[in-house]
C-alpha cells in the first residue's frame, strides 16, 4: 500500500469546473475540501467532483459533498460525482446517498443534458 498524498486539484474547462480529490478524505482536511467544493461555483458553471482516486471518505467528506449539492440546487447549476471509487460508493450506499447524487462515469458526461 503506497501512501497516497491527499490533494485537491481544480480544472476549469469551458463548460464545467472539475474538482479532483485524491487520497483519504477525512476530518483532518475536509474543511479544505468543503471550501474548494463551495468555491467551485464561483464560475457559474456545472461542477463535477472526481472521486476516482479517493481511497477512503468519512462522513465529514460526504457532508462537504452534500453541501455542494445543496448550493448547486440553490444556484440552479449542475452537480455530479465523477467515477467514485468502490470505497466512496460503499459509503454513499450505506447512507443511501447514491440515490440522491447524480453519479456519472466520466467528466465528459458532466456537460451532457441531464
Amino acid at each position: 500500500m503506497t501512501a497516497n498524498p491527499n490533494e485537491i486539484l481544480r480544472e476549469d474547462a469551458s463548460g464545467q469546473v472539475l474538482i479532483r480529490l485524491r487520497g483519504e478524505v477525512d476530518l483532518s482536511w475536509t474543511q479544505d475540501v468543503r471550501r474548494a467544493v463551495l468555491a467551485a461555483f464561483d464560475a457559474g458553471k456545472p461542477v463535477g467532483i472526481d472521486l476516482s482516486a479517493v481511497d477512503y471518505i468519512d462522513s465529514s467528506g460526504i457532508a462537504a459533498l452534500v453541501e455542494g449539492l445543496q448550493k448547486a440546487r440553490a444556484q440552479g447549476l449542475g452537480f455530479a460525482l465523477v467515477a467514485p471509487s468502490a470505497a466512496v460508493r460503499a459509503v454513499l450506499e450505506l447512507a443511501r446517498l447514491d440515490q440522491v447524487f447524480k453519479i456519472v462515469a466520466n467528466a465528459a458526461a458532466l456537460t451532457a443534458p441531464a
Partner: protein, 266 residues
C-alpha cells in the same frame, strides 16, 4: 502507527469486585478490520472486560492498550485522543435524556471538532439516516422505542467515524427482526467505513452471523479465541454447554459449600 499492530492488546488482565476476582489473567488481541465477538453467559466477566477496554476501570493487574496507548498509564490528553477514535454503543443506549436525539448524535462533534454548524448538522443527520432514523432528530430519547434508542445510540457512536467501535449487547431486548437488521448494519459499517468492531453478546445466533473471530469467556477466563468454525467445533465442555444451552453441571466442593451455608456474616 504501524498498520499491522493490533488495535487492542490486553495483557494478563486481572479484575476484582471487592473480594471476588472476576477476571483471571485475560489476554485479548484484536487486529484492524475484524469483527470480534466477546461471548459468555452472565457472570462470565464480559461486561467487566468491556469496562476495562473502554478505560472506565483501571486494571488491578496487567494492561490494556488501545491503538498502542496503555489506558491505565496514559495522560489525560492521550486518553482523550484515544477516546476520539473509538465509538461505544451501550446496552441501554445511554442517550442523554436532557438532549434531543439530534443533539445527542451531534454531541461528540460539538465537543471535539471546530466544524461548521451546517457540517455538523449534515454529519449527524447522515448518521441517523444510516441507522434508519432519518427525520427523528427532534424527538427526545424518552419518545423512542427500545430498538430506536439502540439505533440512535449507534448513530452517536459512529458520528466521529471511529476506527474502533464497541457494541454492548446489540440484540438484548429487541425483537428478532430489529436485531437482525442491527446485525446487518454492523457488517455494512465494517465494510463501508472500515471499522474494527468489538461486540459483546450472549446471543449465539447473532454472534455467529457477524463474527470474524469469537472470544469465549467463562468465569473470568478466556476459554477460546477462534473463528466461528473453530468455536463450533471446540470440544471444551463449557463451550458446548453454551452452544447447546445446557445448564452447567456444578461441581460441589463439600467443604466450601458447607462453609457458605453456615458461616456467620463477616
Amino acid at each position: 502507527m504501524n498498520a499491522t499492530a493490533p488495535l487492542i492488546e490486553v495483557d494478563k488482565l486481572d479484575a476484582w469486585y471487592g473480594q471476588r476476582q472476576v477476571l483471571h489473567a485475560v489476554d485479548f488481541t484484536v487486529t484492524s478490520g475484524e469483527i470480534r465477538v466477546i461471548m459468555g453467559g452472565s457472570g462470565s466477566g464480559k461486561s467487566t472486560l468491556l469496562r476495562h477496554l473502554l478505560g472506565l476501570q483501571r486494571p488491578a493487574a496487567g494492561s490494556v492498550r488501545l491503538f498502542g496507548v496503555d489506558m491505565g498509564k496514559a495522560s489525560e490528553r492521550e486518553r482523550l485522543d484515544v477516546r476520539k477514535r473509538i465509538g461505544v454503543s451501550f446496552q441501554g443506549g445511554a442517550l442523554l435524556t436532557s438532549l434531543s436525539v439530534g443533539e445527542n448524535v451531534a454531541l461528540p462533534l460539538r465537543e471535539h471538532t471546530d466544524l461548521d454548524e451546517s457540517t455538523i448538522r449534515i454529519m449527524s443527520r447522515l448518521k441517523l439516516e444510516v441507522v434508519n432514523l432519518g427525520g427523528f432528530q427532534d424527538l427526545m430519547p424518552s419518545q423512542l422505542s427500545g430498538g430506536m434508542v439502540k439505533r440512535a445510540a449507534l448513530a452517536r457512536a459512529i458520528v466521529m467515524d471511529p476506527r474502533l467501535l464497541f457494541f454492548d449487547e446489540p440484540s438484548a431486548g429487541l425483537d428478532p427482526v430489529v436485531s437482525a437488521e442491527l446485525d446487518e448494519l454492523i457488517l455494512r459499517l465494517r465494510d463501508a467505513l472500515r471499522m474494527t468492531i468489538v461486540v459483546v453478546t450472549h446471543e449465539l445466533e447473532s454472534a455467529f452471523k457477524i463474527a470474524d473471530t469469537i472470544t469465549v469467556l467463562d468465569q473470568g477466563r478466556v476459554l477460546l479465541t477462534g473463528s466461528v468454525a473453530q468455536v463450533r467445533a471446540a470440544d471444551n465442555e463449557r463451550i458446548q454447554d453454551l452452544l447447546n444451552r445446557r445448564p452447567r453441571e456444578m461441581q460441589v466442593d463439600a467443604e466450601a459449600y458447607l462453609r457458605r451455608l453456615t458461616q456467620e456474616q463477616t
